[in-house]
C-alpha cells in the first residue's frame, strides 16, 4: 500500500509534467501554423478537425487534465486511507483539492483569461505537493513490502 501510495503520487507529478509539455507543444504548433498562413477563429477552434499535428498537445492536455489526473488523485486518496503514512491522508486530500481547483480554473479560464495565471501557478503547487507526498513514504521501505514498513513505523 505504501509503495502504491508513492507510485500514485509520483504518477501525478509525472502527469503534471506531461500537461506542461503538451500545452507548450500545442501552442508552439499553433504559432507555426499561423505563421504559415493558417487562420484561427472561433469556427476553427470549434472544428473537430486537426489543422496542424500539434493539436494533439491540446487534446492530451484536456483528456489528461480532466480525466486521468483526477482519477489518479482519487486513487491516491483512497490508498492513503490504508497506507498508514504520517500525514498521508492530509497530503492526498490537499492534492485532490488542488486538482479540483485546477480543473475549475481551466474550465472558467475560457471566460476569464486571467485565471490562466493561477492555472499555471497552481500546476507547480500540484507538482510539488505530489513529489512531497511521495517522498514522505521514505524510499528504503518500499521494496520490503507492507509488513516490514508497518513494523518499522509503529509509533509515528
Amino acid at each position: 500500500m505504501r509503495s502504491f501510495y508513492r507510485g500514485a503520487a509520483y504518477a501525478i507529478a509525472a502527469l503534471v509534467f506531461v500537461q506542461a509539455a503538451a500545452i507548450a507543444f500545442g501552442v508552439f504548433g499553433l504559432g507555426r501554423w499561423v505563421e504559415d498562413g493558417g487562420v484561427l477563429d472561433k469556427a476553427a477552434m470549434e472544428s473537430d478537425d486537426t489543422p496542424f499535428p500539434e493539436v494533439a498537445g491540446f487534446i492530451v492536455h484536456g483528456i489528461n487534465g480532466q480525466m486521468v489526473i483526477p482519477l489518479v488523485a482519487i486513487v491516491l486518496l483512497v490508498v492513503s486511507f490504508f497506507a498508514r503514512i504520517p500525514g498521508g491522508v492530509r497530503w492526498a486530500a490537499t492534492i485532490v483539492l488542488l486538482i479540483a481547483a485546477q480543473v475549475l480554473l481551466g474550465m472558467f479560464g475560457h471566460g476569464a483569461p486571467f485565471l490562466g495565471l493561477l492555472h499555471g501557478a497552481n500546476a507547480l503547487l500540484i507538482f510539488s505537493a505530489a513529489v512531497f507526498a511521495a517522498r514522505r513514504v521514505g524510499g528504503h521501505h518500499t521494496s520490503t513490502g507492507e509488513p516490514a514498513a508497518v513494523a518499522t513505523d509503529p509509533g509515528r
Binding site: D41, E46, Q66, L77, V78, F81, H110
Partner: protein
Amino acid sequence: MAPRPRARPLFACLATVIVLAPLAWFWYASLVPDSYSVMDMGHADRTGGHHHGTRSVDTLTVDPGLAADVRVTLTARAERFALASGRWVRGYTLNGTSPGPVIRATQGQLVEVALVNESVEEGTTLHWHGVDVPNAADGVAGVTQDAVAPGRSHTYRFFADRAGTYWYHAHQFSHEQVRRGLFGAVVIAPRAPAGPVTAPDPGPAAADHLALVHRYDGVRTVDGRSGDVPVPADPGGTVRVRVVNTDNGPMNVWTVGGPYRVVAVDGTEVHEPSPVTGEAVLVTAGGRVDLELVVPAGGARVELGGDTALLLTPPGGTAPAGTAAPRRLLDLLSYGTPAPTGLDPARVTREFAYDIGRRPGFLDGRPGLWWTINGRMFPDMPMFHVTEGDVVRFRISNHSGEVHPMHLHGHHALVVSRDGDPATGSPWWIDSLNVADGESYDIVFLADNPGVWADHCHNLPHATQGLVGHLLYDGVSTPYRIGGGGTANRPE
C-alpha cells in the same frame, strides 16, 4: 490520536466508501437507457394546462394529395470525393458532390425531396434548416422519423413558404455527418420580381452568388474552394452574396473595396438596411446572412473568415488585397429601421427560461464538464410545453463560458431585447441566434407549427454533449425513439 490498530482498517473502508459512494451514485444516475423517447426525456416545463398526445408527428404533413412543383432526388453516399478545389476528402456526398446540389424553388411552391441512402452505414436524414416545414418533414432521427438505413429512402414534402437563404443537412450523427459533407443550400426566390416597396429605386436585379462556407478536414472552403475565390462581376452592378455558415463556430464577414448592406438574416429581409463600413457582421453557426454590395471599379473582396474570401473581380481587373478583420461588429439589434412584425410581444402567453450553464459531472457515465439547461444536465433537459396559438417568449441566457449558436426548429423567432436593451432596428427574425457568454436574449415567436421540435445548440458537438431541449405542442406525440439496435437513431 491515531485510531487503534484494529479500528484502523474499518475507518479506512468507511472513508473509502464516503469518497467513492457519491461518485458511484452520480455515475450510475447519469446512465441513459439504451433506447428512449424524447417524450419521456427530462422534466416538463409548463406554464399552463397539458393534454396527452393524440396526434402522431407522422400526421403533421403537407396534404399528400397535392402534386409537388419541385422534385429532387438526393442520393447519399459514403465515399472519397474531390472538392471543387481539387482536394480529396473522405466523407459523405449527395448525388456525388459535397456540398450537395442547391435546391432552388420559388416562394409558395411545394418541394418534394426523396432522400436515398446508398451507403451511409449508420443511416442518415435531412433537416431543412430555417425552413418552417411541417413536423413530419423535419428530419430529426428518433424524433420525427427513423434514420434512413442503407438501401432505404424517405420523402420530405414542404412548402417553400418564405423567400430566402436556407440549408439542409443530416440530423443523424449530425456532428459527424455534417462535418464530413452531408449538407447543401436551399434558395427560395420571391414570388414576384424583387423590389421592396420602401426602396425608392430598386435598380436592376442583383447578381446572386451563394457562399456556402464549410471546413473540410481543417481547411476552410467556400462552395468547396479554398483561399481567394474569384467571381466575375460587373463594375457598378449589384451583387447579393448569400452566406451560409455550416460550421460549428461563428464567423465574421466583411467587405474590402466598398461598403455592404445586410439585406437578409436567416432568410428574412432586413427593413431599410444602411451601408456598413468598418464593421464585420457575425454569422453564427447554422445561420445565414445575405449581403448586397455595389461592385466598385477596382473590384471588391467579401471576406468569409478564416483565409477564405470571394473576389468580385471586374473583367480584366483585379480585386483589392485582404485586410485584417474589423474590430467592431455590426449590431443587428439596432440595424435597419422598425417595421410592423405582426407579432405583439406584449401579448405573450407562455414564458420560458433557457439558461445555459456548465458544471462537472457524468454524462451517460463519462466524467467531464458538461452543459446544463436551467441548471440540469442531460438527460434531464427541459421539454417546453406549448399550445398552438401561444405567443411564446424565451429568455435565453448564457453563463457557460463559451458561445452557443442556438437553433429552434420549425419556427422563426423575433429578437425583442438583449441584456434588457430593446431592439430598435429592423425586425430581427432568427432561427439561429449567437448567444455569447454573459449575454441574455429575449425572443418571441408564435406557436403556429404543431409538433415536437428540437431547440438546441448548433455547435453540433455541444448537442452530443446534451445541449438539446425540445418544444412540445399539446396533443402531439412521437412514436420514434432515440437509441436502440439496428440502425439506431442518434440525432446529434
